[in-house]
């Protein structure tokens, strides 16, 4: 029974991470109809921000080091939110109303982010900055010089290509200088040590210890979820976001700055992903490919829960997380040792992490046969809803 309970706790903490990430994804998807395949990579960014903050705090030692985690939480939210806003302003905005294309473009972004984290070094960063600076100044100049000329877009496109080549060349050249060439993170997994107050047990219920990390993650996501709910239902921006989610054109007519609401929402969603990534670092080592492991589960949460309803998101992620960990660990067999052989054979077959995913996905596809729009579908009068 203890084992079973601790499996439930495990499941709950995985579910909370999933919940954080999926909430961000659900808000963005509900509002803009945009599927952000780079969402998992935002989680990865959050995890790496935590790693960097930890390394910055390490030399201080003592009490200060113990405090790094709250700082990392806030910073990972801010950094990923900023990256999200930047992405929305530069890319997503151009693809409004083309959800399938957005999906492909954000996949491109995720590839770039993964490789960036793998191979970023000081030399590379300098090269990128040089390329952006040259390109920005040059295209300003070109714009002044050739205003309204029909060939301006082609010329500036060529120019940007040239500057990026210059950037690559510069990065290559700088790589010959030893201290600049070493990668910051490399392709390998990184480890974050949890501060002392998180390690160990946080008291007991009966005979069962409560591992601090897991409880902390569950509490964290509960608090953040409540904060998000409060924000959506009580604040001005939350009101605007709900209005745009329900009817974009009408909101626009009534003077809501929909484009700012879009960037704001995208930033919020990305920020939540960043916090989720920060929380993941407590559960184990993380690597550049972290996102891929979570993104499909996040989508499943949205599909299962239905769009535009956070209750569905919460229920779906709890369900997914717990089912996955209880079945995947095979603890059902230890709890119910007297199952008939046919059933126990089936349970054993699915008792690995990957096979439990198989079972969960099959379950979801079967579920959609009865409720195609998820558990809590958005009600509306359009044909689609």
């Amino acid at each position: 029974m203890e084992l079973f309970f601790s499996q439930i706790l495990d499941g709950l903490s995985i579910a909370s991470v999933l919940l954080l990430a999926a909430t961000g994804l659900a808000i963005v998807f509900g509002l803009m109809g945009v599927i952000n395949l780079a969402h998992g990579e935002f989680m990865m960014l959050g995890a790496y921000v935590t790693f960097v903050v930890q390394n910055l705090f390490k030399p201080m030692g003592g009490i200060l080091f113990e405090l790094y985690f709250p700082v990392a939480l806030v910073l990972s939210f801010i950094v990923t939110a900023l990256v999200g806003v930047l992405l929305e302003r530069t890319l997503i905005r151009r693809l409004y109303g083309r959800p399938l294309e957005t999906l492909l473009a954000t996949w491109g972004v995720s590839l770039i982010l993964i490789q960036l984290v793998r191979s970023v070094s000081t030399a590379m960063l300098l090269g990128i900055l040089l390329a952006i600076a040259l390109g920005w100044i040059g295209s300003r100049f070109l714009k002044l010089k050739f205003t309204d000329k029909p060939f301006l877009p082609y010329i500036s496109g060529l120019y940007w290509l040239l500057t990026s080549l210059i950037g690559i060349a510069a990065a290559n050249f700088l790589s010959s200088i030893r201290p600049l060439a070493s990668t910051w993170f490399g392709p390998r997994n990184i480890d974050v040590t949890a501060p002392k107050w998180l390690q160990g047990s946080w008291g007991k219920i009966g005979d069962i210890g409560l591992p601090g990390i897991r409880i902390f993650i569950i509490l964290l996501s509960a608090v953040l979820l409540l904060a998000t709910l409060w924000f959506l239902s009580k604040s001005v921006w939350g009101l605007r976001m709900r209005a745009v989610t329900q009817n974009r054109q009408m909101s626009n007519c009534l003077g809501i700055p929909t484009d700012r609401v879009d960037s704001f929402t995208f930033g919020l969603g990305s920020g939540l992903a960043g916090v989720a990534g920060c929380a993941i670092t407590l559960l184990g080592s993380v690597g550049p490919n972290l996102g891929a492991a979570y993104i499909v589960s996040c989508f499943m949460v949205i599909v299962l829960g239905g769009v535009g309803n956070l209750t569905g998101t919460v229920l779906a992620s709890l369900l997914l997380g717990i089912i996955q960990s209880v079945i995947g660990s095979g603890s059902l067999l230890t709890v119910f040792p007297n199952l008939p052989p046919a059933v126990s054979g089936v349970v054993e077959f699915f008792a690995t992490t990957s096979m439990s995913l198989v079972l969960v996905f099959i379950f979801i596809i079967a579920f959609l046969q009865f409720r195609p729009n998820g558990m809590f579908p958005q009600k509306g009068r359009s044909v689609d809803a």
Partner: protein, 378 residues
């Protein structure tokens, strides 16, 4: 010019069949054979995405199933691969005594030739029908197909005892007609078969995209509600086209596997399936020539970049995704056929050939006029 256009497909086919093998070394030729095999997948994706508007992120399932089919047959029929019990050697590592039941049909070559497209087709039919019946579409369709892909990936990845798990099945060391499958002579034959099957796949796709059936597909893509309200049921159309695409992907996977020498669950990763979509996007979706161009160009680029700077490939690929989606939604072929090149020339002052007054298009005042109208409206 007209004659040239009519002869062009034959010229290309002859080039691929006779001229490329003469000029390229074995390694390069093998790569081109793989590109052409992948082009069949691109055609299939174009059929469902470019024409029907269903962005499937799970075509890797069918691709890999085709590959596994052919690999299983080759493994079973190779003496050197057989272990003590007369079943492939890798089974011994996991203590498997008896051949799993689903391996049995693959003893026979004719059954395998059917299975490599029939099995994917059946699975596509079941999955497709279950999805389309519930009017799951758009982004939801993409997500569900991706989830289905993950189901298959985890299944094949985790089941060592059934299908050798992560290691996959190696075909390059197997034998066919007493020759090593990985040998250059064999590979040349596979290259030829691929080059001949590609036009056939093209014709199949053309058959499905022309005529009333093709019109229905385009109607589904452009406005499914309206099609439904005019009394059509889109479900059979979508299911049929998904089945055809699945079968083509299976065929393509089989061809790719015998040329690359291995099939593994790596073919079912999320990344691989999305990459397949980008070949179509780069070449030009909604056309049948585009995907072939896209598959060959992107994969050739991939070989070039990853040979020179392996860590750059993901950057290039990511940039390609963004570039094509934002700036070139019609792809290479669409850009040319919709007059993109003429527009480029015109922008640099080379007048397009028009029947009326070519100079007029270049006149500064005439150009400025639409802009001033646009400003006036603001």
């Amino acid at each position: 010019m007209k004659l040239f256009r009519r002869l062009l497909p034959w010229i290309l086919l002859a080039t691929a069949l006779f001229i490329l093998p003469a000029f390229l070394d074995d390694f390069r030729l093998n790569l081109f054979g793989r590109y052409f095999a992948l082009a069949i997948t691109a055609l299939a994706i174009d059929l469902i995405w470019g024409y029907t508007g269903l962005l499937s992120l799970g075509q890797g399932i069918f691709f890999a199933l085709g590959g596994y089919g052919v690999a299983m047959n080759l493994m079973l029929n190779t003496k050197s691969e057989a272990g003590a019990k007369g079943i492939p050697k890798f089974f011994e590592n996991y203590g498997v005594e008896q051949l799993p039941f689903f391996w049995q049909p693959f003893w026979s070559a004719p059954l395998t030739l059917v299975a490599i497209w029939l099995v994917p087709a059946i699975i596509a039919g079941v999955v497709g029908y279950l999805i389309f019946r519930n009017r799951i579409k758009g982004v939801y369709f993409s997500i569900i197909t991706q989830a289905a892909l993950m189901v298959f990936y985890h299944f094949f990845n985790g089941q060592q005892k059934l299908i050798n798990g992560t290691n996959g099945l190696k075909t390059s060391t197997t034998e066919l007609f007493g020759m090593l499958v990985g040998s250059p002579d064999m590979q040349l034959w596979f290259y030829r078969i691929t080059v001949l099957l590609l036009p056939i796949a093209f014709l199949i796709c053309r058959y499905f995209t022309s005529g009333r059936f093709g019109d229905a597909l385009i109607a589904i893509r452009d406005d499914e509600q309206r099609l439904r309200f005019t009394g059509y049921n889109p479900v059979p159309f979508k299911t049929i086209v998904f089945i055809v695409a699945g079968a083509l992907c299976g065929l393509s996977g089989a061809l790719y596997t015998i040329q690359s020498g291995i099939v593994s669950p790596q073919y079912m990763t999320i990344a691989m399936s999305i990459e397949m979509v980008i070949w179509v996007a780069v070449g030009g979706r909604g056309t049948l020539v585009g995907p072939i161009i896209g598959a060959v160009v992107v994969n050739y680029l991939r070989s070039l970049v990853s040979e020179a700077l392996p860590e750059m490939w993901l950057f290039v690929q990511g940039a390609l995704f963004i570039f094509v989606v934002v700036l070139m939604p019609d792809g290479i072929y669409g850009w040319f056929s919709k007059g993109g090149f003429a527009k480029l020339l015109a922008a640099f002052g080379v007048a397009p050939r028009t029947a009326t007054y070519p100079q007029l298009d270049l006149d500064e005042n005439v150009r400025a006029e639409p802009k001033s109208i646009a400003h006036g409206r603001d």
